[in-house]
């Protein structure tokens, strides 16, 4: 329903929507490209109350803009990877408090980001670009998985993953012979 006001709109609302008022001075400088003098228009029955200084982009262009922004958001974790890699290299392979904290951050960040994926892309998602959004979300999850892989590789370097035979030795059993030999001293 269109908003109708019984009284004329307040002054501050008009000032808000209108651009700066230009006084016709002498021919000082020409207007910059794309600058349009504010023209007061009557409210139309559309949702927009006043016209904006610039042309309102269409729904398609909005979608494209939102998609571009979404792609930027999706690839942001990948840009963090070199910094994380250098940080990991600096903390070394021994079990110190700093390296434990670093590894913990490396694990917590991607997992939290993937769990909050809906929140992140909520304001950029519209009905029309849902299909492309799936690709963007997949790329986001992929970048976070890369960061997680870096964390796992670091944990392996610290020797905490049970990848070697000695880690599973407790589950192996010795072979028992079926007979027993006893010495009988004479």
């Amino acid at each position: 329903m269109a908003l109708t006001l019984s009284a004329p709109p307040p002054r501050w609302l008009e000032d808000l929507s209108s651009g700066p008022v230009t006084t016709k001075t002498k021919q000082s400088f020409p207007d910059p490209l794309g600058y349009q003098v504010a023209s007061r228009q009557q409210k139309s029955s559309s949702n927009k109350t006043v016209a904006h200084p610039r042309k309102q982009p269409t729904a398609d262009e909005m979608d494209t803009l939102k998609l571009k922004k979404a792609w930027e958001l999706a690839l942001a974790p990948a840009k963090q990877l070199p910094m994380n890699a250098i940080g990991m290299y600096m903390t070394g392979n021994s079990l110190q408090i700093f390296s434990i904290m670093m590894v913990f951050m490396l694990f917590k960040g991607p997992i939290q980001a993937v769990l909050n994926i809906q929140n992140t892309f909520q304001r950029l998602e519209t009905d029309t670009n849902r299909q492309q959004m799936l690709a963007v979300k997949a790329a986001f999850v992929g970048c976070n998985l890369l960061a997680l892989a870096l964390g796992i590789w670091k944990v392996n370097g610290m020797g905490l993953l049970p990848t070697t035979r000695s880690d599973w030795l407790a589950w192996e059993s010795a072979r028992e012979p079926l007979e027993r030999a006893y010495f009988v001293p004479t």
Binding site: R165, L169, S173, R175, F183
Partner: protein
């Protein structure tokens, strides 16, 4: 002539305090004067009971055998008191009273009822030394013993010593973890026999490692220039063996003095491999009668400063604690405990250890093994004329009880891995209790404040 007997669980009056660490084991000794004496290992060798077994000192031609039975009794057999076929004498281990036949029968039936669900006894092979040869016989039900194998030493050699693994030799880990996290699997065969033979004419000593079931020779080693009048003590435990001999001073060999040889048995020379690559057997329980793979033996020799007359290995209840070698040195009347790290056969020879080997605790091989004075167990006391060393496990995993007897009787308690399962003496229980109490009080005081703050936060205008 002694044996360790466990205290029977029914009689706790023997020890004043509860023995949760299992230190109060009785060493039951039979003396030449005919007295059976029980010494309490946990109370500094206090004599618990002292009963006469025969009236006066007599020369016993055969050496009696003492056995401690699981029903809390000690059985003395081969005791030819009256030169007649006397049945074995059975004594209650806690009180020392000689049990009558009815009492024995009652106890045995009670013990059997208590342990009704026994594991089926595996097929047994008994091997004995007869006519200078080692002969293994299979025990068959309702049939005489059938001879399975016979081991005779080479021409001119005589068998002087037969050693086997202790009857209870628990193994905690079936492989040795190397510094780079690979595993060298141990050759764990409970039926191995270490046979020592000497040849007085050729002045040689040979050591054979046999499999007790099939009689196969798994390993043999020969030493020349030996002084055969010296004893050659040997011991076998888990997957390693140790023996010691003296080099004849008149021999032409370059090394002189006394030497200690330590060897370890592994399934394969390569880590992470079970059995040799040429013998891919399925890993089920097997019988060595069918196939006997030979172990990979790694051994090293050390020059020791003085002669060793007896060797023993510490024992613990679950085998987690490292095993240390106990040696009796008659020249200095002492009993020493040699740590395994000093005599590890995997020490690198001729080079410094790599970082992986350092992580395992290996140091560079030094052919001379000096007996560290701190290894001596009897400190400033002298233990003269020790004839045998017995070790037994306490209930506490990190402790092992040692009992040496001969002319002198010496007992002690050793912790080869330094008491890892006991709270240290400097642990402040008062401080711990104080911290816990302070935290509890703090929690109780602060909890209502936090709850009221959380409730207020809900009522805030956001």
């Amino acid at each position: 002539m002694s044996s360790f007997g466990g205290k029977s669980a029914a009689d706790v009056q023997a020890s004043a305090e509860s023995d949760s660490f299992g230190y109060h084991r009785f060493a039951v000794c039979l003396t030449r004067n005919g007295r059976l004496i029980a010494l309490d290992a946990g109370s500094s060798g206090r004599i618990v009971w002292n009963v006469p077994v025969w009236d006066h000192a007599r020369d016993i031609s055969s050496s009696p055998v003492l056995k401690s039975l699981p029903d809390g009794t000690v059985e003395i057999s081969d005791l030819e008191i009256d030169n007649s076929g006397t049945p074995p004498l059975v004594v209650d281990a806690a009180t020392g009273e000689i049990l009558t036949r009815d009492a024995i029968r009652d106890r045995r039936t009670m013990a059997e009822d208590a342990t009704a669900a026994l594991v089926e006894k595996p097929t047994s092979v008994y091997y004995t030394l007869e006519t200078g040869e080692l002969c293994g016989k299979l025990d068959q039900k309702d049939a005489p013993l059938q001879e399975l194998w016979r081991f005779s030493p080479s021409k001119g050699e005589t068998i002087v010593n037969v050693t086997s693994r202790p009857s209870t030799d628990p193994v905690a880990s079936i492989g040795k973890v190397l510094g780079d996290r690979r595993v060298l699997y141990k050759y764990l065969n409970p039926n191995i026999v270490l046979v020592t033979t000497i040849s007085t004419a050729a002045q040689t000593a040979t050591v054979y490692l046999l499999d007790g079931i099939s009689g196969t020779i798994l390993f043999s080693n020969s030493h020349a220039g030996i002084d055969t009048t010296h004893p050659i003590p040997s011991t076998l435990s888990e997957n390693w063996f140790a023996y010691s001999y003296a080099i004849d001073t008149a021999s032409s060999s370059a090394s002189k003095g006394h030497q200690l040889v330590v060897g370890e048995l592994y399934e394969s020379p390569f880590p992470n491999e079970r059995d040799s690559p040429l013998d891919p057997r399925p890993r089920a329980n097997h019988s060595t009668l069918h196939s006997t793979p030979s172990p990979h033996v790694i051994s090293q020799t050390y020059n020791i400063p003085e002669a060793i007359s007896h060797l023993a290995v510490t024992q613990t209840r679950q085998g987690i604690t490292s095993r240390h070698l106990l040696a009796v040195l008659p020249a200095s009347n002492s009993l020493i405990e040699i740590p395994r790290s000093a005599i590890d056969p995997r020490q690198p020879v001729g080079r410094d250890p790599t970082s992986a080997e350092l992580a395992e605790g290996l140091e560079r091989y030094n052919p001379v093994l000096d007996f560290d004075p701190r290894w001596t167990l009897n400190h400033r006391r002298e233990a003269v004329g020790i004839r045998a060393v017995r070790t037994t496990a306490a209930t506490l995993e990190s402790a092992s009880l040692v009992f040496a007897h001969g002319l002198d009787v010496f007992g002690t308690r050793v912790s080869p891995s330094a008491g890892f399962d006991v709270l240290g003496a400097d642990f402040s229980k008062v401080q711990m209790l104080g911290t816990v109490l302070a935290l509890a009080v703090g929690t109780v005081v602060v909890a209502p404040l936090v709850a009221s703050k959380q409730i207020n936060a809900v009522w805030q205008f956001s």
